[in-house]
Assembly symmetry: C5
Homo-oligomer: 271 residues x 5
């Protein structure tokens, strides 16, 4: 972990990553409710919102769409990922070299590590290579740190999630993206054991504005750095509205209620 | 994906790849009905037809025959492929380096990815290396994207085929070659989720002129870029006739009937 | 093995490594009894004690905290390690390259080898690469040499532990870190077969001051070079007190009683 | 495949490779009937016969004996091969790098590929590396193309043998060494589907002069380029005699009877 | 195989390698009978005897002790080896690079190959890399060639041992170290099929002076080049005495009786 508060991945030390690799990880099914979300241009447009500190995509999306947005979007190169057509022990292919990510203009790299998988050792060694190469370029490093796999006893206990955040610190991640551990207290412990590594919550599947914002607020109150979110943005009809609210909660220390009111005032929800 | 409308792989933004790697993938049995099709010279001659934007072959065929055709044929280097003597979980050997393909004069590369195979991760990482090396040379990239393997639930559903086209986009293919998903509507969805990546239909096994051209027409009407075809050309006694018709359907917005009439006028079928 | 008595890893030929990779190897659970031990700054502060000849940490911890301590702490780069989320045949991921460890300022490298594991051959070959690269930089090499794995009949017999020390000598470790073999006599034999390779005892799980110091004394009396210790330091409320005592036993030839008395005088234990 | 009629591997476009890697592949048992055949000098002497266009040996034999014969023998470096002490799924170790083969003075390389083996993909990728490196040096490439392995249904049918010759063409072999497919008609088909790649028959186990020469004649009449032969030469008491006859059949369009008569006249067989 | 009669590995074309890697291969148990044999200095001292043409050790032993003996001992770098803590299919880790062995001052390399093991192919390919690198430095190459493994039918028949010597020749060993095949006649055949590769007998477990010397004499009489021996030297109380006798048998064409008498005269055995 190195200091990244001057990097484009952060704003006032906080982080809001818009993640958009679902077309690879889950397939087009994730775009069904909001069909325009299949179009990367739509999501790049959303990522120009001031609240978004970075947009995480796979190589092909970056090659095709980032050139039109390089002045307005900070690019986070999600280096590995795997389709869910394949259903074996958790693993993730390295789809993008750091050299080429840097050439395309990425400011930071993202990398999934499945602690507890039978492929943990291989994944962690691939992370090593990517992390050290990123250091040569001065790129920030984000670990998607998810306990998952055959060897694992308790994937989603607070203990496992705290452990996954610590893996981020021990292995050199500037930011660790982890599951919400179920309570603010558990999140505090997760943040504490991650030391100088920033902890951000993984957005997860779509839920109501209030429930989602409450989770985020709890992360911030626990000392977390913010959020890496996909479906809770692009599966909404009005992503700008939820981004307005997130901006208040993450960067302006607002309560959930204040954030929702402000968003409602700016862009009233259709009845 | 990068823009390739200026590349020799396309004509007016459309694509007709003549694929001729059947001697490796299926063996000489594919040449039985039209014995001269075993002779690469015969197929290179066919590929000089104006409708063909590129000829896809393995390394050995290119080494031996391309030097005589380099002024008349655009070469697509099919980099991987495997005999069907071997019958394990879908996989494909990398038979040709991008460096050597470029040296021989290829304008673009082709690469098979079996999404859902237990070898998906290895194949996708081999694709990464080839794709990024191709970028260094400015070569266009074509993914033969076929869901296939033990881990797969539904290989040929419209959903799986749309997913395979999306893999092309996410992983940096300029063109994704996919199976026909069964209807024009499903093809439209496949083209839509592939974004800027061009979608071409895999020709598949031989069928009647009319049935085949109707499939191609449906691809074009769905917004697809064209076709990658082998057996439906070289297993015909008169490949020029079907190429005349394909040229009308793909590049001249003709109906199937117009295309067949024009082809018949130019080269009447023996009765 | 090369002479290292001039290296910062030693003091008067003796060694006291403070090991702090438990956040990776065991997870945050190791910090529960003394919560501040989760904070690397706390442990770096402890490592400034004169008795500590080196602090062993993983890459991420070094990146984040070593820059503030580089004048006061000698850094030992623990290159490999694995979470216990994964529960397969003993193995260890290489998390840190020697090049980058040297760049960050490490004076020496640490590497785990599980003799008897089905992964012994792979681990030993990874050790080879690290050891030879360390030689290029003139860094000292420490092998965490633990018999462990499916192929092993007797992991913790004196014979296996002596064998593990000999592995350190044969494979080029300057220091071999081994389990305490149960008696001073067995430790003497372990030291004897290790030849010029220095032998240090692995601290193991926490025990009483007297029991712990007696083990250390027995190592010194057996001709061992000292100790590599984690939990017996950072899981104590007053790590300075036990370090005062260790300094006496390891570097000043004191008895356990003298060491405890001196430590008590300097920092009386609360009653 | 590239044109090799100017290479030392051919004479008038025909090929007679003397193969002598049996000491590795089968062990000393192959030398029992003619004990002097265990001595590489004996076989190098045989290889100075005008009929032999190249001698195929493993690295160690070339290192030790080729320096004395470099003016009189063309060296074909057989790069891979495996003892039959090991009895797993067909595979072959790469025992010799192309760089070193070139340094020692080899004009061409030989490489075994077992199509249908579970190791086919690995072997074919090793072939790729060797073949492309050989191209850098302008060395001719010979594929020992033998269908063999668990995944194979019919290893020695005419169809499988034709397929194996086609693999040579598709994968860039200048010469494909295949089993005799049982009839001249089948050999014609094999030669036809191999296109510009020359097809040579594998000599196989020892048989009578007449039977052996009839097979060779049938290969030549079928348009094949010749023969790669070991045991049918060095397991004969008088290898020169059979080489005289082979020279007539392969290079001088003689019948089997003419060849035998001429050989008998030059070196009458003891009665 | 290249000529090595000018190399320090030989004396008058004969070879006596003192092998001392038992601390790795067997563990300290091999030093129990003669405890000082655990001390490499003791064995280096023994190796200064004129009869010893080379001392074979692992990397760590060479790093630590060879600098004091470089004027008096020729170093053979035993590159691979494995502890017997692990009990899987025969294999051997590569513990030492040729580059580093050369840097430390080794004149020759040693490498174990287990023909018939499921790891034969991997081991042979590792041998290839080491052997070809050794050629760049002009270092002699010695193959410890032992048939061993699951795939093997007859590991210690004369046929298997002759085969293992032939592997040395085919794969480029200057010296093949093999088991004694049970009779002088079998040894003659082994030497014969090894061609220009020198054959040395592996010393094996300790036996009486007379029995041991008779085996060695039989190797010499069979045309073998000598001996690679460990336990039959360092497990003796008076290694100089047996080396005196070996010198007579190997280099001076003495009978066993003459050799024993001369040794007895020089250093009478305590009664």
């Amino acid at each position: 972990m190195i200091p990244i508060d001057d990097s484009p991945l952060t704003r006032d030390g906080k982080v809001l990553i818009l993640a958009y690799d679902h077309g690879l990880e889950h397939g087009p099914v994730d775009f069904e409710d909001v069909p325009e979300s299949a179009n990367p241009e739509h999501v790049f447009d959303v990522a120009t919102h001031d609240a978004v500190t970075s947009l995480a995509v796979q190589k092909g999306i970056a090659e095709a769409y980032y050139p039109s947005y390089e002045d307005d979007v900070n690019l986070l190169a999600k280096l590995n990922g795997t389709s869910n057509l394949w259903r074996g022990e958790p693993d993730s292919a390295v789809n993008w070299s750091v050299d080429y990510a840097h050439e395309i203009g990425a400011d930071s790299i993202g990398f999934t590590v499945y602690g507890g998988s039978n492929n943990e050792i291989e994944m962690v060694e691939e992370w090593r290579e990517a992390q050290e190469k990123a250091r040569e370029y001065g790129m920030a490093t984000v670990m998607w740190s998810y306990p998952r796999g055959q060897g694992l006893r308790n994937a989603n206990t607070p203990g496992s999630i705290a452990y996954s955040a610590r893996l981020g610190l021990e292995l050199g991640a500037d930011v660790a993206k982890v599951k919400y551990p179920g309570s603010q207290e558990a999140m505090e412990e997760t943040v504490r054991v991650a030391g100088k590594t920033k902890v951000v919550m993984s957005g997860g599947s779509k839920r109501s504005d209030e429930e989602f914002l409450s989770n985020v607020k709890s992360v911030i109150d626990a000392g977390g750095a913010g959020l890496a979110v996909g479906r809770n943005i692009f599966q909404r009809e009005n992503p700008e509205r939820i981004l307005d609210a997130l901006e208040k909660v993450i960067f302006e220390e607002s309560t959930v209620e204040e954030a929702l009111d402000a968003a409602e005032a700016a862009a009233p929800e259709a009845e």
